[in-house]
């Protein structure tokens, strides 16, 4: 008896497959993930965004330039800020320190502005570089030229030697 029941089940399945309609419909649903990539452009290449970069001649009176970019497909308001400490001497000898005079931000339209900053502990400063809401629709790159200018009085008065500092740039999203 059980054997017949099993055979009937298999037949029913086979018949049900065979009796399927000629046209079937499937609803495909997906979503485009929100992407936010930021970093630095190098050598005029706008396709690759690097998480780090290194620049020399930072004591040039005209400053040292970085090209910073945000690639995103969101429309979320964003604020870009930079945390930086004074340059410190990286070789042996008398300790020396060279402060940051200004960080000038130039947007894609050529508008320049000196960034305001908050003084943090340990002589660090937090500069607000840009606040914007992506508005190009879809994936787009928003680029800025940052000019970091060292304090030239400090450069003149600091001991001779090699100096370095790290500019750390972060983004906060939302209002």
């Amino acid at each position: 008896m059980k054997r017949y029941v099993s055979i009937i089940i298999l037949l029913a399945m086979a018949l049900s497959l065979g009796s399927a309609p000629n046209q079937v419909t499937i609803h495909l649903t997906t979503s485009v993930p929100e992407v936010l990539i930021h970093g630095f452009l190098k050598d005029g290449d706008t396709t690759q965004i690097y998480a780090s970069t290194s620049e020399s001649d930072a004591f040039n009176p005209n400053g040292v330039q970085l090209t910073y970019a945000v690639k995103t497909n969101t429309a979320i308001p964003m604020t870009v800020y930079a945390t930086v400490a004074p340059f410190t001497r990286s070789d042996s000898g008398d300790p020396g320190e060279v402060g940051i005079s200004d960080i000038i931000v130039k947007d894609a339209n050529g508008a320049e502005s000196n960034s305001a900053f908050d003084q943090l502990e340990g002589n660090k400063r937090e500069y607000q570089l840009a606040s914007f809401t992506p508005n190009k629709g879809g994936m787009a790159v928003y680029a800025y030229t940052l000019t970091v200018i060292a304090n030239q009085d400090d450069v003149e008065n600091a001991p001779s030697g090699n100096y370095s500092t790290t500019v750390s740039i972060g983004i906060t999203t939302g209002n």
Partner: protein, 176 residues
């Protein structure tokens, strides 16, 4: 036999079910580096700095200068000497000045007056090899500039041949 049929049925069910199974929808939310901090390392070099020489009309220190066009025997020549330095080693700038010479004729130097600020220092007994301190430099992390006015007064020209006389003033650096 029954077990085989049941297993076969399960296999068929799983296979048919698999046709309608998807990979799952990608989750929403930010991807890539999500705005985590990126860094730029900035490097700069501060080098030692030093230059010295004679001040010219445009304010620069030049390694050579002359007082052509002036009669040194009428108006004692004056030169402004200076340096700019940021260095870890101190030094003294030292001058020598030769007598005014025309062949075998020599007009000695009567005196050299060095003026730094409001202070005059006069040296009266001078030969070609007499070393006269002009300016000193103490090691500093700052760029330091100093100047001195040097006045060279020739001695008597009495009994000397007519002609053109030349004297050479040289300043060298003696480190500590």
């Amino acid at each position: 036999m029954n077990k085989k049929l049941i297993v076969l049925a399960l296999v068929l069910l799983i296979a048919v079910g698999g046709l309608f199974a998807g990979d799952g929808l990608p989750g929403a939310g930010l991807t890539a580096n999500d705005g985590s901090a990126v860094t730029a390392t900035l490097k700069g070099v501060i080098g030692s700095s030093f230059r010295h020489g004679f001040k010219t009309g445009d304010g620069l220190y030049q390694p050579t200068a002359n007082n052509d066009g002036q009669d040194a025997f009428t108006t004692p020549p004056q030169l402004i000497y200076g340096y700019e330095a940021k260095n870890g080693v101190g030094f003294t700038s030292v001058m020598t000045v030769s007598g005014f010479k025309n062949g075998s004729n020599v007009v000695d130097i009567a005196s050299v007056t060095i003026t730094v600020g409001d202070v005059d220092t006069v040296k009266n007994t001078i030969t070609d090899s007499t070393e006269i301190p002009v300016l000193t430099y103490t090691p500093s992390n700052s760029l330091v500039a100093a100047e001195a006015t040097i006045k060279v007064t020739p001695g008597s020209t009495e009994g000397k041949d007519v002609g053109t006389y030349e004297s050479e003033l040289s300043i060298s650096i003696v480190t500590e």
